[in-house]
Symmetry: C2
Subunit: 690 residues, 2 copies
């Protein structure tokens, strides 16, 4: 206990943890910021809590409840009535919350160890779970101090990211002939000034640049450079390295340093996915990928899909989402750059590829109207931004090129994909799909590019599926079912004990269940209800993939009728998307010369089984191409070459966006496709379900 800073005669237990200063009850009450805490104006984050507890963001009410999260013991003080998901979001604890607190995904399970929460009843928890004290964090309000435990399955694990690893350099090498970084380093020996040659330092610099063929009439600079210039030019006998940031129609001198201080210049390519973020650190002298890192987008705490993220940004402010994305990228940058013993200030060129919502939120731009008819993004083509302006860990002046995105639901990640796969340069028709958290399709060739997003939903990434999960350690990614015994045989990511099932596993499973007649073409169960693998879960039929005992779990891993329904809706949406795009240009699947599949998901996809369930069209198998994570690959190409950056802009401008949300033909086709593989069996001649 200490004395109140405003009323030195009073003892009090309120303490500003940042400043180690006490406040009394009156000061807490009045809330006048000047009295409440004088240091507030100079103190952007302000921690105040009752003494003895760790910290709480922003100002708590007088009455507050303390939540302790186990394992780890992190404490947070919140106002009574706060739910446990909100409480976790006030700390740096990230737990799965696919539906952003709607109570519909059932991912945010916590176990109450001490104290009581006021939890809504939910069918998403089993009886066993209820008995063990499981609650859904988002459905549990707290009115007293409480200790909760985060179970294994709720903590996010290391993600198996696509298109990564040691082979990255090899895979991408040779794609770029001439390296043109966004920030070009130009070594210059300036003329020494004399009484006969008294032009200013800046003019002297420009004169030399002009000698080397640079168009200095279109060259600008900024106040930072002018302030450093005087000493920079004189520090190494008028030998300098000028850094030129290339913009659309001009360039800016963003740095001038003594030649002797010169360090290697790095670039960074970023794939900003809704689910996961990947960064590549690139040597800008030869294009070699020196290190990579990947991790979950921290925004996942605000929901799995872009709609939930936007909802969250409207509720809590876009800054919160911006911060989450930036901090994820910065942590990955730190990890990747320290692994090569370099300094993040050596990163001078950056390309970021992501969907339209992710890019808006990253830049702190309002994304509100992306989810409202007529679905208008704020910006499609972005000016070159400086890293320091948005808080990215890099040289302050590092040039950031953001992949342009033609529409609210077809973004820069898809433009990246087209850039990388390059089908926009050929006469033959290509059908391109990126299956990530959404499903974006591009149909086109060197004459046109038509694109659409087909609201596949997050099912293939585990969203809305009881045991669905991302391709993390322990996710079932391949599965077969014995036609006689119905015994499943599966493989998991990294061969860890099964924790759930990811997208490729689900396709396998659905296909196997269909072919082995566990379910019919309508998706309904037709297996003998007495079979040991058949079970009723909340009065719903379900198939047991793995028994709890085999994996040291409390619960069997099951696949329910609802899960099947979700998956069928997703695959139907994608297939309908293909059909309608082709319809629009008066073609059908036979006109396609190749079908490119990209996305984190695509990496593990079994084409044959995807055709069996009617996700992919029944065409010649050799027409299918897996291209892995094309978003990061395109970003890498744009990082190294201005030709590619300009091509990306051209691709984005060429794309015609077709909106399915109010398209009747799409709705019809979508309905027709809600069958395995399709209501029109003629479309899938090679699939035999009987």
């Amino acid at each position: 206990m200490g004395k109140c800073v405003n009323h030195p005669d009073r003892e009090t237990g309120y303490i500003c943890m940042k400043h180690n200063i006490y406040f009394c009850e009156d000061c807490m009450e009045c809330r006048d910021p000047d009295i409440y805490c004088k240091f507030r104006p100079s103190c952007p984050i302000h921690f105040i809590t009752k003494k003895g507890f760790e910290s709480s963001e922003d100002v708590p009410d007088k009455e507050e409840c303390i939540v302790t999260f186990q394992p780890g013991g992190k404490k947070v003080a919140v106002t009574p009535g706060t739910n446990l998901l909100e409480a976790s979001q006030k700390t740096d604890i990230y737990i799965n919350a696919s539906c952003n607190g709607k109570g519909s995904c059932g991912k945010c399970k916590l176990i109450i160890e001490s104290g009581k929460a006021d939890s809504e009843k939910t069918s998403l928890l089993s009886e066993k779970e209820n008995e063990r004290g499981y609650v859904l964090a988002c459905q549990s309000k707290i009115f007293e101090n409480i200790i909760v435990k985060i179970p294994e399955e709720t903590i996010e694990k290391k993600l198996k990211a696509a298109g990564m690893g040691e082979t990255a350099t090899k895979k991408l090498s040779g794609l770029v002939e001439k390296i043109e970084p966004i920030v070009e380093k130009v070594p210059l020996q300036l003329d020494l000034p004399t009484m006969e040659d008294t032009v200013s330092d800046f003019d002297r610099l420009k004169r030399q640049l002009k000698k080397f063929g640079y168009d200095t009439s279109k060259m600008s600079s900024n106040i930072r450079v002018m302030r450093q210039l005087t000493e920079s030019v004189r520090n190494d006998e008028w030998k300098v390295i000028a850094s030129l940031l290339w913009k659309k129609c001009s360039s800016e001198i963003v740095d001038v340093s003594p030649a002797k201080d010169q360090k290697k210049s790095f670039g960074m390519a970023v794939d900003l996915g809704t689910t996961s973020i990947v960064v590549y650190i690139v040597d800008m002298s030869d294009g070699a990928i020196l290190s990579t890192a990947s991790g979950h987008n921290r925004q996942a705490a605000c929901g799995d899909d872009v709609i939930n993220r936007i909802v969250c940004s409207e509720k809590d402010g876009v800054k919160k989402l911006k911060k989450m994305a930036i901090s994820t990228i910065n942590d990955l940058t730190k990890q990747a750059i320290s692994s090569i013993n370099a300094d993040h200030k050596q990163i001078e060129s950056i390309v970021i590829s992501g969907n339209t919502t992710m890019i808006h939120l990253l830049l702190g731009i309002n994304a509100k109207y992306i989810r409202r008819e007529p679905y208008i993004p704020t910006v499609s083509e972005f000016p070159i931004i400086k890293a320091g302006e948005i808080g990215l860990k890099a040289a302050y002046y590092a040039g950031v090129f953001v992949m342009p995105g033609p529409a609210s639901y077809v973004g820069g990640d898809i433009v990246s994909g087209v850039l990388y796969t390059g089908f926009n340069q050929f006469e033959d028709l290509t059908l391109f799909i990126d299956i990530g958290t959404n499903g974006e399709i591009v149909l086109g060739n060197n004459e046109f590019l038509m694109t659409a997003a087909c609201s596949a939903g997050p099912a293939f990434e585990g969203g809305g599926i009881r045991w669905g999960m991302r391709a993390e350690d322990g996710a079932i990614e391949k599965i077969t079912i014995d036609s006689k015994t119905f015994e499943p045989d599966y493989l998991t990511v990294e061969n860890k004990p099964a924790r759930g099932i990811c997208g490729s596993g689900m396709i396998d499973l659905l296909s196997e269940m269909l072919l082995k007649k566990v379910i019919g073409q309508d998706g309904k169960f037709q297996i003998d209800t007495n079979h040991p693998r058949f079970v009723l879960f909340n009065e719903e039929p379900a198939f047991i993939i793995e028994y709890a005992d085999n994996i040291d779990s409390e619960e069997d891993i099951i696949f329910t009728q609802s899960d099947i329904k979700s998956l069928i809706l997703s695959k139907a949406a994608i297939y309908a998307g293909f059909s309608i795009l082709l319809d629009q240009v008066g073609m059908d699947f036979s006109s396609i010369s190749q079908m490119i599949i990209t996305g984190g998901f695509g990496q593990y996809l079994n084409i044959e089984k995807a055709i069996t369930i009617g996700l992919l069209p029944d065409i010649e198998r050799e027409k299918f191409k897996y291209m892995g994570n094309s978003s990061i690959a395109g970003a890498y190409m744009a990082l190294l070459s201005n030709t590619y950056r300009q091509q990306a802009i051209a691709i984005s401008n060429t794309m015609t966006y077709l909106d399915f949300s109010s398209n009747n033909a799409f709705m019809e086709e979508f309905t027709r496709a809600q069958f395995l593989p399709h209501t029109d069996a003629n479309l899938f001649p090679s699939v035999h379900t009987d």
Copy 2:
């Protein structure tokens, strides 16, 4: 007394005045910033002093002396050995210190009221002054607590600035035909988005701009605009005002606001003089000058001339000088803008005109090499800067055009002068001089512009002259001497009791003393030493202009032999400058078709008398033109018109700079001109001194 924040068991008298937190002796001693004051990192200016005293900048030694300045009672704690000038600079008290503490100008007089200072003996103080306790602040170190009084003459008074007042609008009206602000406001009605027209907000904006003929391919923007765009476009039914900042070869959309929030847009022209600063607030719709303000450049506390300012910036950091200039401008802006009941955020275009050193210091650019051979400035032509980047009171995005300056000693103020007077467009030869704190000359026509600075010194602004002063209230600005009685008859600024003599008064005086034979052509006194107006001051002959009794002063206002010498050196430098420039192009004074005189000084200049002393050449009187403050006039023109801004750049690039500092011909001519009017009487046929 209170408890130490680090050692709560100890009472102490040390207090951080900003945070109201106490520290004990140990904490003061150790100086570890973490222990010393935890708040330091978030606290740029850190006040610590013994309790009971007002404040002291930065960290004092354990032992300290308290200086109290009267009138006002402002207190400051300083380390023993600090001189009184340095002590005053730690507060917001500004006292005259023309020589920046060298002890040579004698301006920084203070009276010691209590306590003792260790003062150097100086001939710049009279015996009477010594008796009354006068000291020079810069020559007086303190080792104990002291109370000093700032006498009337040391406090800066309101300056009579040239080219100002109600007539400003009239004088400048009609100069600009078509208004092209740096930040252009474009009202736009955007198309409402539909499902058929889903381009992004930003593309929608650019599309409309394109319709109005703007080249959007060269248009960029920034992250601030993109963050405000979403709501701005929707706030007034897609009616917006876009603000375009015009740069060299491109434009930047710097603001987009709902049309209904639109306010009047203002511009600001700034004359950043070494001595005084003038601002004009301009209505950008019609160019009307709505209000003006002027004041002393606060940097004056660091010396009268540019050299002293640079020395100070090297010693104390350029940030200090930057802050002084910015705060002077901001105060004037506040004054001018509040007089028209407007908000400073309505200022969206700014032009600043000043000499090269002033501009460097204002922008926080190192000016070190301006004063070192070969005299190289860091920047001559400045990119458009945003007001917010340098801390100017205006819209954050307000575009700042800085008048380019061709050389270290011929700056943007002279370019402004040429732009305003326009002689660069005529075939006839013009000789242009700006007599401010320095004396810059331009010779030229529509084919060439040759320029030089002639180190006239600050004599004409009162520097180095015992009773010299600027054209403030009470300055003698006109004077005649009776040829028989030698009684002077004078006028003062605002008819206030005489406090000293300003530039135009000195020219009058020198001319009168010469013509009435108080002195000879060599400047030596030849008046009867028994004449009551003759006096010896520190063993030096002097002329009494006014008796102390008549003006309720302690001292007679006198003009000494040294003063005459200083003035002769100044006028000789200027005349030599004229001659050498003409020599360089093989011409003489007869080739000149007009002679333009500008500068704050020029306003009150008596041409005839200036010729008599040999400051101006003896040519036809009708060739002389007074043009007032041409620096602010040129800034005003550039503010309103891009044509003029581009012309200013062209003028600066056309100028050839001639350096006199190592020019033998100049030195010879300078020596020859140190006579009244000149050693070669043929050059001044109309001057009759006998």
